[in-house]
Amino acid sequence: MVIKSPQFHARLHRAGEAWQVFARNRLALVGLGLVLLLAVLALLAPWLAPFDPTQGELLSTRLLPPSGTHWMGTDDQGRDILSRLLWGSRITLFIVVLVAVLAAPIGLAVGTAAGFFGGWVDQLLMRLTDIFLAFPRLILALALAAALGPGIENAVLAIAITSWPPYARIARAETLSIRQADYIAAIRLAGASNRRILFGHVMPLALPSLIVRVTLDMAGIILTAAGLGFLGLGAQPPSPEWGAMIAAGRAYVLDQWWVAAGPGVAIFVVSLAFNLLGDGLRDALDPKGSD
């Protein structure tokens, strides 16, 4: 039998309070619902998609308008757009998760180290952060993706490299205020090592602000990835990446508008969902940041 510590109970209680604030915000719940829906659709894409996403009937089903069989129409290769959107949600989710997994830990490590150790470590790390912060994100991602070669992994890498600096700033600011707290002095007196203080106490406390910022960033990440895909630097054909699908529909936008309309709406809805979710999380976890 595991004995739960009082600390665990306190955390549980705090999480419960945050959830109550969050749940009062109806738009945030809509955002959460849409993000969960995206995850479910991506998971079940092989069973939900009515047609093959990469292989169409060039002779019989090319550029068909939305109908009972093809709910969102077909594209210039005769592929069912709904099926492609469903499979494409996997790519979007993949990009978002991977960028977050790559960029957030870098930002957290750099920021907490800078704030905690201070002095020349702080100077060095923050200068580096400033340099990366001064870069226009899309352009740098473009140049990187061009140098590494087009492809989804390189697009993710490029976006991650341009995403971490704001996280480092936030983590540093949080660390600076946590470092001064009395309980840090108390555990230090009790003999805790730097490593233990940093990993056991500072990082967990800096995490909520970081999560909020990462969530708010998701929309930007999705839009950047779609932009790279649109320019031909992200996922390559015949992969059903949404940005690349819009690029493919560009030639037909005047007469067969549905080819470009579907993926555009999909990108918009998913970005909107992440923005609503991020706003709600910010209000619930970080009341200082609202308004």
Binding site: R127, L128, D130, I131, F132, A134, F135, P136, R137, L138, I139, L140, L142, A143, L144, A146, A147, L148, G149, A219, L223, A226, G227, F230, L231, G232, L233, G243, I246, G249, R250, V253, L254, W257, A260, A261, P263, G264, I267, F268, S271, L272, N275, L276, D291
Partner: protein, 334 residues
């Protein structure tokens, strides 16, 4: 004061060197051998080695970086494979088009975004506030290239309200002399009203679209600055004195919010210069963004990196400018 200035210059230099280091390193990780692209794939091993020697590719990396910095300092960004011109002169040719587009965008975004933000703050929590918030959310969430495509299909192809892709009707392309590179100004200088109308009708859609994206950010920040000002004590004092609400909001509160707002506008201006990459592609706008994307498609790395460097430098420059303006306008920071 002098020390602060020296610190500013030092950090600026460091940022610029960082920028150069990044473009340099990106140029080095390219999988294609730069010597191969110069000598051609039929060159013999000896010819390749000669080209490599000539380009300094067999020297240590820091020597190569030194050469690169020295060349950039002299305005030499190399030659473009695609156009055959020096990248610097290519960029000088296409940059005014981007500048014109971004300037129209920021004027649009600030002229509408600031009043909207003030309105939302005054009517906090009411319908107006929600509407402005919704506009902002849509701006944050919609892919700009997609909105551009849809707007082009609707307003140009279906309704015929605006000019299509490009900066001006082709008929005027060679009749208006390019003096400043800014199409509107050139048409004015030439006194050609027909051409001016054509240029304006081509500019309005991409300009408004870019402006919409800065509007989202500007109105949100204006709202939050104004909420802070409107809860300050001097506003209570002004109300007690019997000043009209309009005067309090527009003359007193907005004026105090103006300084941080200026930074916001400057930052979104820099953002628009960058954001124009996708917009230019959609609207076939012959600016820096289109230049970079065209270069990308033909693996013209000199042009890509030169363009990246210029956008980065402009970005840093505008950041610095807004920082200096802030210090100059707000006596508390001195």
């Amino acid at each position: 004061m002098m020390r602060k200035f020296a610190g500013l210059v030092a950090s600026l230099l460091l940022t610029v060197i960082g920028l150069l280091a990044v473009t340099f390193l990106i140029g080095r990780v390219v999988p294609t051998d730069p010597a191969l692209s110069v000598a051609g794939d039929r060159a013999t091993a000896a010819q390749l080695a000669a080209v490599r020697e000539d380009l300094g590719l067999n020297r240590p990396l820091y020597v190569q970086f030194g050469r690169y910095v020295a060349a950039v300092a002299q305005g030499d960004l190399g030659a473009s494979l695609l156009t055959g011109n020096a990248v610097t002169s290519d960029i000088a040719r296409v940059f005014p088009a981007t500048l014109e587009l971004a300037t129209v965008g920021i004027v649009f975004g600030a002229a509408i975004g600031i009043p909207l933000g003030v309105w939302a703050a005054v009517r906090r929590g009411r319908l107006a506030d929600q509407l402005v918030r919704l506009m902002g959310l849509v701006g944050y969430s919609a892919p700009i290239f997609w909105l551009g495509l849809m707007a082009l299909a609707l307003f140009y192809a279906r309704l015929g309200w605006v000019g299509g892709p490009g900066r001006i009707n082709v008929g005027f392309l060679y009749s208006v002399e390019a003096r400043s590179g800014l199409m509107l100004l050139d048409c004015l200088l030439a006194g050609d009203w027909e051409a001016l109308r054509s240029a304006a009708s081509h500019l309005v859609l991409p300009g408004a679209l870019l402006g919409y994206f800065s509007l989202a950010y500007i109105s949100r920040m204006t709202r939050s600055f104004m909420l802070k000002e409107l809860s300050a004590e001097y506003v209570v004092a002004a109300r007690a004195k019997g000043l009209s609400e309009a005067r309090i909001v527009w003359r007193h509160a907005l004026r105090n919010a103006a300084v941080p707002l200026l930074t916001v506008v400057a930052l979104s201006y820099a953002g628009l210069l960058e954001g124009s990459v996708l917009t230019e592609t959609v609207f076939s706008w012959p600016g820096l963004g289109q230049y970079i994307t065209n270069a990308l498609q033909s693996a013209d790395m000199n042009a890509v990196l030169g363009g990246t460097l210029v956008v980065g430098a402009v970005f840093i420059g505008i950041n610095l400018l807004s920082d200096l303006l802030y210090r100059w306008l707000d006596p508390r920071t001195r």
